[in-house]
Symmetry: C2
DNA sequence: CTGAAAGCGCTTACAG
DNA sequence: CTGAAAGCGCTTACAG
């Protein structure tokens, strides 16, 4: 760093003031054309690259967006980041990604560490009840909340229609004739999980007011789905269908059922939620609700940009993203169960 | 931002100078204990959080590591980042991740944009022949190259033993009795792909000096593997086994063979490279070389830390990471082909 | 169109 | 142990 070339070096060589160099490099129009091209040439020749911290300290803009996530692990987050990055790139913005690694108590410090590094924040906080404290730490930065519990606070929030998605899946299972439908729940304090459970219950009771919801515990992990599957196998009383709150648990359950000799979908139908890539490769391929994850991120990013430009965000743009029902073999009532192929269920 | 509280506010309220606030907050020992606790209390009460750009401009440290990758898409990169992040966190370092999205010509600007934002760089540059120009733009920052073509330059580099891995796989296929082994190659200018191809050739010729290498073109994408599989089906003359330079192509090839009615492994054995998660879920599950991707990132990060501390890096620590042979159903010479289960091939 | 100067919010020798 | 001051590398009114 000590050897690196600064704006002063460029100014000296180009025989102008640093102010002029700054203007020339930043494309201001109050620079003589001859001077500008000379400055540009010198800057290039010296391999000058502006010092980001200095620039953002004086200009009060960082051209960077902070993304604070619960975790970085897994397909969901990489797809989300990809969608965000797509929009950010178009606008010449960088991304500073940070996660609190499943420790919600570290979220505050993750948020505060963003000060002076970012112009705006995209925050995903699925842990219910975190919102008040969130507001305290968001400071004066424009922010968009992703997939978070709604709040009375003034924050812009955007997410997936988990409730509606769960109802859609239930309607599919009910239409296929299943009546005794078990549900593998997500983590207790997770807002997404809560909404999906709510959709399951409401749909079940809407179809038959005397039905008893059949809920198995889970935590979104494959292992918890596997445990739920084993629990079902041990029970002499089995459901017609199992709806897992996410695909990872559905897969865990599928393997448990396969191992235990329960045929899917012939003996038990199975469905998940998310449409992670593996879902269409397993045998039988998994019926699920497809969530357009990159679009979730991209749209949140666009909302943030509007917020930064002081454009008011109309309510319509905050309408949750509706997941799409993808019917595959795991819920097909009858017929051939073929191995998954390239042409099955997507590009 | 205008409303945010600065070190001056803390100093005023705590009735000390900004210098003292700075020292107290940074844990210097030349601060009276009573003063320190007062400053800390005030800072907390005011929800003060240091302005990062200002701090790094004056201290000349950013506590951030730049990670420049060819792309962000897919399991490989998210696993790599996870490994890097693991080590970074332990050291209280942040990560600034940037990708040039498959456009090598944007790599230079991605690298230069890191100036003044990071203390060190982790760079993955699989495109052969990029190295000289890399050196020009790395400036004075300590850097570690990941999975890149070796160079005479002074850069520290670390990667996977692609050549050795490919040979190991070939020895497995040869030991299973296969002689006519086709190879689906990766992109022409990719160093990883080049090394794997070299391992294939050498192993083939080592087993039989008169053998003719049978190389199909590919570019690491599933689609290109699918095309290669179709090409093999159309040919009346089929190989005993197919070794794809990565798992994605192996999967594409597998689907083509499945669709075309060629039984794997009975008629054609199949193997890939990488051990991506899907590899053990497909039917038949895929034999492959497992690369410990998080460890690749973690180790590179540790090398960078040593470099920053001016510790000399001994050659031993630069020894490439050796992939591990994972034999699954797609290359089993005979016996039962069962669906994948939870207990197959890993946690 | 251009330059001198103030200022962004910190850290760190330098005095005391 | 503490404070006044210089300085990090830029940008941006303010004059001219």
């Amino acid at each position: 760093m000590a050897l690196s070339v600064t704006i002063k070096d460029v100014a000296r060589v180009a025989k102008v003031s640093v102010a002029t160099v700054s203007r020339a490099l930043n494309g201001h129009d109050n620079v003589a054309e001859a001077v500008r091209s000379r400055v540009l040439a010198v800057a290039h020749e010296l391999r000058y690259s502006p010092h980001h911290a200095a620039r953002s300290l004086s200009s009060r803009r960082t051209h960077t967006i902070g993304v604070v996530l619960p975790d970085l692990y897994g397909e969901f987050f990489s797809e989300l980041i990809r969608g965000i990055d797509l929009v950010a790139r178009e606008c010449g913005l960088h991304l500073l990604v940070s996660s609190y690694h499943g420790h919600p108590e570290e979220q505050a410090s993750a948020l505060r560490a963003m000060r002076g590094r970012v112009d705006g924040l995209l925050v995903m906080s699925p842990h219910a009840g975190n919102i008040d404290f969130l507001s305290e730490n968001l400071a004066a930065l424009p922010a968009v909340l992703i997939n978070s519990q709604p709040t009375e606070s003034q924050h812009v929030a955007f997410g997936i229609d988990n409730y509606g998605g769960a109802r859609t899946m239930m309607e599919h299972l009910l239409a296929a004739g299943h009546r005794r439908i078990a549900f593998i729940a997500g983590p207790p304090n997770n807002f997404d999980a809560f909404e999906r459970l709510r959709g399951y219950r409401d749909a079940l009771l809407a179809a038959d007011a005397s039905a008893t919801p059949w809920v198995l515990p889970g935590d979104f992990s494959e292992a918890s789905g596997h445990r739920a599957g084993q629990m079902l196998l041990e029970d002499s009383d089995r459901p017609d269908a199992v709806f897992a709150a996410n695909d990872m648990m559905a897969l865990g359950c599928l393997f448990a059922l396969n191992q235990g000799g329960a045929r899917v979908p012939d003996q038990i139908a199975l469905a998940g939620f998310d449409d992670i890539p593996i879902a269409r490769y397993v045998a039988p391929s998994l019926t699920t609700m497809r969530v357009n994850i990159p679009e979730l991120g991209a749209h949140a990013m666009r909302l943030l940009l509007d917020l930064q430009n002081d454009e008011s965000v109309d309510a319509e743009r905050l309408t949750p993203l509706v997941p799409e029902l993808i019917v595959r073999e795991s819920s097909r009532s009858a017929g051939t169960v073929r191995p998954a192929t390239l042409s099955d269920g997507g590009p």
